[in-house]
């Protein structure tokens, strides 16, 4: 106590002395920070803050054990001064030991009851661990100590969260009690006239809505107090309540007023039309009394807006189409009341066809009309655009209209039925239109703008994919790729072109090109989560381990940073008292931390590291233990994995009746999760092999159960494959260019993954126990290696052979076997195998020299004589010899692997465009060079990898 007082007196002095430590920590000079803190401690050995800072410096230097001891000692002193507490809680946050922070502040508060600052910290520490009950108690203490509104509402929201998010929220009666309590708490405050802010009013409304007390919410929302405190309450809140209350007439009138003032609000129109339908249900008989029914009034109102608006806005026109659509859905006479649907669409097209959003707008109404009507409408629009097969657009507006009509006709399925030669002619026309538009309307394009006619080329690429798919040949798609690359030279910022090129490169297994496009897209921050799927999931198939690791690193860096910071933002919402965002933020945070992209990237990155291990056994093992894989522990929250992919970023105009984006998303997500299951289990299984020989944890386990984890994982491994086969997943179909690429699931099932690792597990077990069947098992594993090698050599041969016909398409066709499996998966298998053998060998050699006698003596008692360590060691060496031999064969095969032969007849594919021959030549040359580079780089990397493994096996 005396020492603490002294500290208080000299705090300014100590502050100055501590400064250099802080400064060094800030700039990341941790070693110097440690020295400074030690220097300070020599003078003032009891200065708590200096000790805490020493702990932090040690933590930053990675000296965890020392740091832990140091921090523990400080915490046991139960510090109360702010700076020490701050440093300690910072350390605990870094180590994710959030409950320790709670303890820390609990002690501090106990010694200084009623201290606002400390209580606030205690509150936030409860927030971090989401302990709502404790939050509530602390908030009330805070309010008692310092009657600020914020604290009062901290306790209210804590009660609300106990009702809707806490452990008791699943029980309806508990939920009711908590929400009722929260409501009474706010009402008490209102009665005392203490409600002050917008967010407090929001919270009250929210509490009422959570309890379905809509009438009370309505009264509060339209009352005086709310008008004063919360003038900015979104008008949509009113709609929502009126809808819940079934007060359709008032809603209808309110919306008419709103629409009169603001005629382009889709949210208003949508609710307005719905309320009109609801009114019709309420009083269907009005018509008979000679009055107009609500739909007729709705139509009249919309018509009125259309006629009285001077500047044409899309709103009322789209609303009229929506009314038409909904009347038809309800089997009501839409034609009679509003008019002919096609004519209305054509009118819309004529008014707004020159805006690029017109396609999107019209597409909204296509699904409700028949296929026949769709195609007829599409032809009418093409006619209406005024551009025929023999003419060119006269101005930018006409060109946009033409584009819109073409996009709509693709969406209506008109292109799918064209014969091949028509489609080729269509492609040529699109190419010409692109070039014409570019040279006529796109001359003064800024580097940051998209070209006005780029959409022609995008459409052309889609058409070429259809053709390629129809003919199972790559020429067309390759040509499309060249065209896209040409477009990209002209409009460097068109991300659609980059995304489509990326996709095509991946289809062809050309990783260098894909990487180039990925970098060109400049995907960053949260995009790494939502857009990473275009590239990351395909990387493990590319066989380029170093490049892959870089991409993963960038992605993982984003995630780990956000993960660390996530709790501080929640604390922020409490500090700002923005109750309206708390739940939203918690959901957002959960989506981010449970992102499939995040989890999959971390697992793949670990596998990637293991596969590319190249050092000696000691180095490899220390690299392995730095990864801290816990085989016994499944760290993935499988049921909470979140699909954050933004599939709508790429623009598409594929036939609406053949696209089911939601289903495709679900199917692909499910499969990706299964892939992750296989990969993470493989990683854990493999880790359990190594841990059995080199693990640290194994020593604590009672004798005889060392292999428990391994056996359990092995069971899960075979069980998983059994289940996957039963699930009978279908590969994702690829009807269109923009569809998601197939997942690796089928590849994993087709390759001998299951058997290889299962047999390997047996081998490891037998080696461990010295079972009599060891020799047999060695043979089995050896056979597996031969199988893997054979497939590897065979696919390369097939690939080289296929080159004679069509280098690229076959590559895509056999992607699973060639570009994909051989490069990565086989190497996965073999590389991991090599690593394991080298580890086993190392261990066995050591033990065969030193422990042979002791071990055999121990084991004599249990049954048959196990094989001696020496023999085991010899067997492993034999396996390694075989592996080395096979790897050399593999290397030889890869050496013969030829680069893909590109389609030949391309040299003049752009001859009908106004391109200079040298531009054309460099264009095709560049794309071809990318393919060649990609192949060569892949071969080099693979051979380097093999070289490392051969060296490993040769030891």
């Amino acid at each position: 106590m005396a020492q603490q007082q002294q500290q208080g007196m000299d705090s300014a002095l100590f502050e100055r002395r501590l400064r250099p430590v802080y400064d060094n920590l800030e700039v990341g000079n941790n070693r110097k920070a440690l020295q400074e803190s030690e220097k300070l401690l020599r003078k003032h050995p009891t200065l708590l803050c200096a000790r805490a800072l020493k702990g932090l410096s040690l933590l930053r230097l990675g000296r965890y054990d020392e740091s832990h001891g140091c921090l523990q000692a400080v915490a046991e002193e139960k510090p109360t001064d702010d700076s020490t507490l701050q440093v300690l809680s910072f350390c605990y946050r870094e180590m994710e030991q959030l409950d320790k922070i709670v303890e820390l502040y609990q002690h501090a508060v106990k010694q200084n009851p009623g201290n606002e600052e400390l209580l606030a910290h205690l509150f936030i520490s409860h927030v971090r661990v989401e302990d709502y009950k404790a939050q509530q108690a602390v908030a009330l203490q805070l309010y008692k100590a310092q009657p600020k509104n914020a604290y009062y509402f901290w306790s209210v929201i804590s009660v609300v969260f106990q009702g809707i998010r806490g452990p008791e929220s699943a029980l309806p009666e508990k939920r009711k009690i908590y929400l009722g309590l929260a409501q009474r708490m706010v009402e008490k405050h209102i009665k005392e006239g203490k409600l002050e802010t917008e967010q407090e009013a929001f919270l009250y409304l929210h509490i009422l809505k959570l309890q379905n007390k809509y009438q009370e919410a309505w009264e509060f929302l339209t009352g005086e107090l709310c008008a004063k405190l919360y003038p900015g309450a979104p008008v949509s809140m009113k709609f929502e309540l009126l809808k819940e209350l079934g007060n359709w007439r008032e809603l209808n009138e309110l919306l008419q007023q709103l629409l009169d003032a603001d005629r382009d609000r889709w949210d208003y129109y949508k609710e307005y039309i719905q309320s009109s339908f609801e009114l019709l249900k309420l009083s269907p008989k009005e018509e008979k009394n000679g009055e107009k029914d609500s739909l007729a009034r709705c139509q009249e109102f919309l018509q009125g807006i259309i006629e009285s608006s001077e500047r044409k806005k899309r709103g009322p026109y789209l609303a009229r189409l929506e009314l038409h659509q909904r009347m038809r859905a309800n089997k009501l006479p839409a034609e009679e009341l509003i008019g002919d649907f096609d004519e209305m669409v054509i009118e819309y097209f004529n008014l707004f066809g020159d805006k690029s959003c017109c396609t999107h707008d019209i597409a909204l109404f296509l699904p409700t009309i028949s296929m026949k009507q769709r195609q007829a409408l599409a032809s009418k629009l093409l006619l209406e655009s005024g551009v025929s097969s023999t003419s060119l657009p006269q101005n930018k507006e006409q060109m946009q209209k033409h584009l819109c009509a073409l996009q709509i006709s693709r969406m209506c399925g008109s292109h799918m039925e064209l014969p091949t030669d028509h489609l080729i002619a269509f492609y040529t026309a699109l190419k010409l239109h692109y070039e014409h538009g570019r040279s006529t309307f796109g001359k003064k394009l800024l580097a940051t703008e998209m070209g006005p006619s780029d959409a022609y080329a995008l459409l052309a690429a889609n058409v070429m994919y259809d053709l390629s798919r129809r003919e199972h040949k790559s020429d067309h798609l390759f040509e499309a790729l060249c065209l896209l690359q040409y477009v990209l030279r002209n409009s460097t910022s068109n991300f659609h072109v980059k995304l489509l090129s990326l996709k095509i490169y991946h289809l062809f297994g050309c990783q260098v090109g894909a990487q180039e496009m990925y970098e060109y897209l400049d995907i960053k921050q949260i995009q790494l989560d939502s857009m990473g799927y275009v590239h990351c999931q395909l990387l493990p198939l590319g066989g380029r381990f170093s490049g892959t690791r870089t991409v993963y690193d960038a992605t993982l860096k984003f995630f780990t940073n956000s993960y660390k910071e996530r709790l501080e933002y929640i604390a922020l919402t409490y500090r700002f008292c923005t109750f309206s965002k708390m739940e939203e933020f918690m959901n957002f945070k959960e989506r981010l931390t449970n992102s499939l992209q995040y989890v999959a990237c971390s697992v793949e990155a670990q596998i990637c590291d293991l596969v590319s291990c190249y050092g000696n056994v000691t180095q490899n093992l220390s690299a392995y233990s730095a990864m801290s894989i816990e085989p016994a522990e499944d760290r993935i929250a499988w049921h909470e994995l979140s699909d954050n992919r933004d599939l709508d970023a790429i623009i598409r105009w594929d036939p609406l009746h053949q696209v089911n984006a939601a289903e495709e998303r679900k199917e692909s997500f499910d499969q990706e999760v299964e892939v992750l299951q296989v990969r993470s289990l493989m990683l854990r299984l493999f880790a359990s092999f190594i841990d059995l020989y080199h693990g640290t944890g194994v020593k604590d386990v009672p004798a005889g159960t060392e292999t428990a984890t391994l056996e359990l994982l092995r069971e899960s491994w075979t069980g998983l494959f059994q289940r996957l086969r039963l699930m009978n997943y279908k590969p994702l179909p690829q009807p269109f260019l923009v569809n998601l690429l197939p997942t690796r699931l089928h590849l994993l099932l087709e390759l001998p993954y299951e058997r290889f690792f299962d047999d390997l597990a047996q081998l490891v077990l037998d080696l461990h126990s010295g079972s009599g069947k060891l020799a047999e098992q060695c043979k089995r594993v050896g056979d597996n290696v031969i199988i893997v090698m054979d497939v590897c050599v065979k696919t390369i041969a097939e690939c080289n052979e296929g080159n004679g016909k069509d280098g690229l398409w076959s590559r895509r066709e056999q992607q699973q076997n060639v570009a994909a499996s051989l490069e990565a998966s086989y190497n996965d298998i073999l590389s991991l195998y090599a690593l394991l053998l080298s580890v086993l060998n190392d261990k066995l050699q050591v033990s065969s020299k030193t422990k042979t006698k002791k071990r055999t003596a121990d084991n004599k008692e249990n049954g048959p004589q196990p094989i001696s360590e020496k023999e085991r060691s010899q067997m492993v060496q034999e396996l390694m010899r075989q592996l080395k031999h096979k790897l050399e064969a593999c290397d030889a095969a890869i050496r013969t692997w030829k680069a893909p032969v590109l389609p030949r007849d391309l040299s003049s594919f752009m001859s009908d465009m106004s391109l200079k021959p040298e531009v054309e030549a460099t264009l095709i040359g560049d794309v071809s060079a990318t393919f060649k580079d990609s192949h060569e780089l892949m071969v080099t990397e693979l051979r380097n990898l093999l070289k490392d493994k051969i060296r490993m096996a040769a030891k």
């Binding site: 806005k313 949260i526 922020l572 623009i651």
Partner: protein
């Protein structure tokens, strides 16, 4: 045809077709989250029928001094509004959406009685500058090398509570200063440029 609503955090998973534009900044979460969490009502999204995001505006308030300024007996806020981002997806341009979002922001900040709104814009972003100018914004300062690859402008719009447009005071001084800055910048470019060329020769 738009739905205007508050920007939701989940929108960040769906806004790629907007932020792929090279002139749109993709901010880091530590930059953007505190803003959204502090002033959620100043961050708006425009949504098309069919729920595709059309654009968004990220507004916030910046504290200028702790004490509210009391002038002419009328209370004026000591904060000012700031627009960190305005973005519209390419396919929804030329519909007046930018203007709409900017006007909504102006109305919101008028309610806070802030004296002015400001924003930073790339010098290259000509269409944005002309939009802001038609909305009444004035180039207040020139910001040399504000962006990694471009200069910028600080543009200001006096709001309703700033009747005498005091927030534009000092614009002349800024212009002179900017001019000096520009001269200095060109000079530096010249010097550094020469040095680079010399280096090239010696190599």
């Amino acid at each position: 045809m738009t739905t205007l609503r508050l920007f939701q955090l989940e929108d960040m998973f769906k806004f790629n077709h907007i932020v792929f534009d090279p002139l749109v900044e993709v901010y880091s979460l530590p930059f953007v989250l505190p803003k959204i969490l502090q002033y959620p009502d100043l961050v708006l999204a425009a949504v098309a029928p069919g729920d595709r995001l059309m654009g968004f505006i990220l507004g916030t308030r910046i504290v200028d001094s702790k004490e509210p300024i009391i002038g002419d007996g009328k209370r004026q806020s000591a904060n000012h509004g700031h627009i960190s981002a305005l973005a519209v997806a390419p396919e929804f341009r030329r519909l007046g959406l930018g203007t709409r979002l900017m006007e909504s922001m102006r109305q919101l900040l008028d309610r806070y009685r802030d004296p002015y709104l400001d924003l930073f814009v790339r010098q290259k972003n000509l269409s944005a500058i002309s939009l802001y100018e038609t909305l009444g914004y004035v180039k207040y300062r020139w910001l040399p090398q504000y962006y990694a690859n471009d200069h910028g402008y600080d543009m200001r719009l006096p709001l309703a509570s700033d009747v005498e447009r005091r927030s534009l005071n000092g614009i002349m001084r800024n212009k002179l200063y900017s001019f000096g800055n520009m001269i200095f910048y060109l000079l530096m470019l010249y010097v550094v440029g020469i040095r680079d060329i010399l280096k090239g020769v010696t190599l």
